[in-house]
Symmetry: C2
Subunit: 442 residues, 2 copies
Amino acid sequence: MPKFQPPRGTRDFMPEDMSRRQYVLDTFRRVFESFGFRPMDTPAFESWELLSKKGGGGEGIKDEIYYFKDKSDRELGLRFDLTVPLARVAAGNPQLQLPFKRYQISKVWRYDRPQAGRMREFVQADSDIVGTAGMEADAECIAVAVEALRALGFRKLEVRLNNRKILNALVESVNIPGKKAPEVFRILDKTGKAPRSEIIGELKRSGIDAGRVTKLMKLIDVSGAPEKTLPRIGRMLAGIGTAEDGTRGLEQIVTIAKSYGIDKCIKIDLSLVRGLEYYTGPIFEVSAKAKRQVGSVAGGGRYDNLIEMYGGKPTPATGISFGIERIFEVMCAENMFAEVKPKTSVFVVSVNDDAAVRGESIVIAQKLRSSGVDAETDLMGRDLRKQLDYANRRQIPFVLIVGPDEMKTGRFTMKEMKTGREKKAGLENLVKKLKDETGITS
Amino acid sequence: MPKFQPPRGTRDFMPEDMSRRQYVLDTFRRVFESFGFRPMDTPAFESWELLSKKGGGGEGIKDEIYYFKDKSDRELGLRFDLTVPLARVAAGNPQLQLPFKRYQISKVWRYDRPQAGRMREFVQADSDIVGTAGMEADAECIAVAVEALRALGFRKLEVRLNNRKILNALVESVNIPGKKAPEVFRILDKTGKAPRSEIIGELKRSGIDAGRVTKLMKLIDVSGAPEKTLPRIGRMLAGIGTAEDGTRGLEQIVTIAKSYGIDKCIKIDLSLVRGLEYYTGPIFEVSAKAKRQVGSVAGGGRYDNLIEMYGGKPTPATGISFGIERIFEVMCAENMFAEVKPKTSVFVVSVNDDAAVRGESIVIAQKLRSSGVDAETDLMGRDLRKQLDYANRRQIPFVLIVGPDEMKTGRFTMKEMKTGREKKAGLENLVKKLKDETGITS
């Protein structure tokens, strides 16, 4: 048992895992940037006042933050998401050029009870669009999600889509008072996670009579392809203003999604609530099938009041957040990392311990590096055989052998470790072959 | 005055700055990987017991950590460097394949009084080699530093090199007891930062008589090119075992540095101490000249006892740490970011508000993205002129114009914003031109 371990709820990522994680994060970065999102960074901790503000994360969030004081007794906490810092930045920078399209890929921390697949430290990747109320922005966030997950190899993506305006209309249609809506949403958010009977029970305990609970449950059961489902919702909630506004918004998103070529992924689902209080418009959640059903890997929605709540001008905004840990876990389990190559291409072997040979190996390695080929040399004073063993264990695909003869002739033997095939040639030729084999284009 | 701001000692990085920071971090990553270093990640916080362990950071470190408790009253703190977590991982994983060459680029936090250029949250980039006592490893760390800084555009690099073994011998040679050495080193570490008279005063106050202080100060003044300086040190400290061992180590590093082509950067400097107590062998610090003298931007050394101190087997290790904030600050001030291109290559303009035109713009943008060209479309319902204004303000280099005529003919006008030059052609041709112009090779 090691003397020191990572704190409870956290873990280390050793190089093999971390290389894979970087591949995932790089893919998100590339897709975000392909849509014109640009990176932003904010501090790991924020003022406690900001973090604990009602609406930032709903009730109970206070118990879920790592809280501490600085030496001037300022109350601070580790951030629990990337939306609150964005709202702070948007509120504090009224001169921002709009639309402000930013992405942020960073760690966040929550004080949950640690459980399988749920850590206290985890990475989120968020892309948000600040400054437009247009449904083009919501549609773009959904498109980003589909593109990013496809780029990672996920197939059979499903985007469940709802609108808080429709949910508000639902609640109104069964005569539940508007101020009770947040509580009702919090209960309905358990759909799919808790048994239906439990949800019904909770709704009743919250003071809604059985008749209205039945009506409500029937309404949120409505789901299906947009072409059929949106007109049906229109009929169901005819005459309630927010419902019309809400369905029109979803219709616009679906129309735009056709141009993105992603409309077939979209399913309207009135049981989708998403827990956070701050949503004001369309909300969405993306699930994927790898070999087996994966569940939700991304979610988001529109939050037109949040920036004002943090002291800014009224500023509409929408965004999506990717659960990197879940995505990573699934990709590991489903062996979706075939493409990630070992990082080092060549091990330059010194045939003996002569300083001139060792020196020449370093010279060769430096030449390889300057040609864009990653290379290692021995640092352990190992003999020829042990150097080959090391290259093998590290799964370095090629070794290049340097000895006195090679130094005289300028011709080196390069061996492909997997096949055992050898090629003897001048360095320039070998570099060319290596670049072909490892797909380096620079 | 915004209602909420980043906590004292921290800052936000808005997209323009953050893109530049990513360029810096990507460069480090590329150079680290070209030498076969692989990424690792550890939690932002560690157990307080680990962080506050003497030797991890010398005296006073306890006052410089953000400390907090979790809900089970576990004592935790935000990490103040990346070496302590590495030592924990190495101690806890005795099965690690050696050499274990890892890099980590992450935030660390220190409770310093905030001052110009010194924040409480900052990024470090570390590369370390665990498992070999050979000077090849120290030389490689120095080579990584030179390569990385050159890749960023720094010139006139100077690597100041010393060895704790020589410093121990120096102290011994003037008859200062060995147990006093850490205190003496802490005072000598101020060389170059504090006036000489202050250092002399402190040494005297620590109980060393004036004669020995004079001798000591004369010894640490020795510096210069390795060929002359190392033999001179050999003569000065002849007969003191650790001195011989120390100079031999530096000679080896200088010899290996010749193969790396970086020996001209190296200067022996006996006044280099580096504050941390845990160093046991070679220590080094890299400074650069941009247009003006920059000062130290990287530093490191050998710490052969640290992993054992954290409960591991005796395991030699060496490494180097880059001060990303300082590097970034200098690169901004010296305008060293000419190469960082704006991220979005094309803005696809819709000539009017017709849904078909807007839809076609999205279709075109998606085609550009799938060809590897970053593209944006309007999300604000702006008219033609305002879309062009936006593209201009964002410094997006090209616009591609979509209207009813273009949709009919399949030929689109692309305009280079800087020159005003236009080209009308089919999409495939335009993509080709864009890829040529923006240097996209994929």
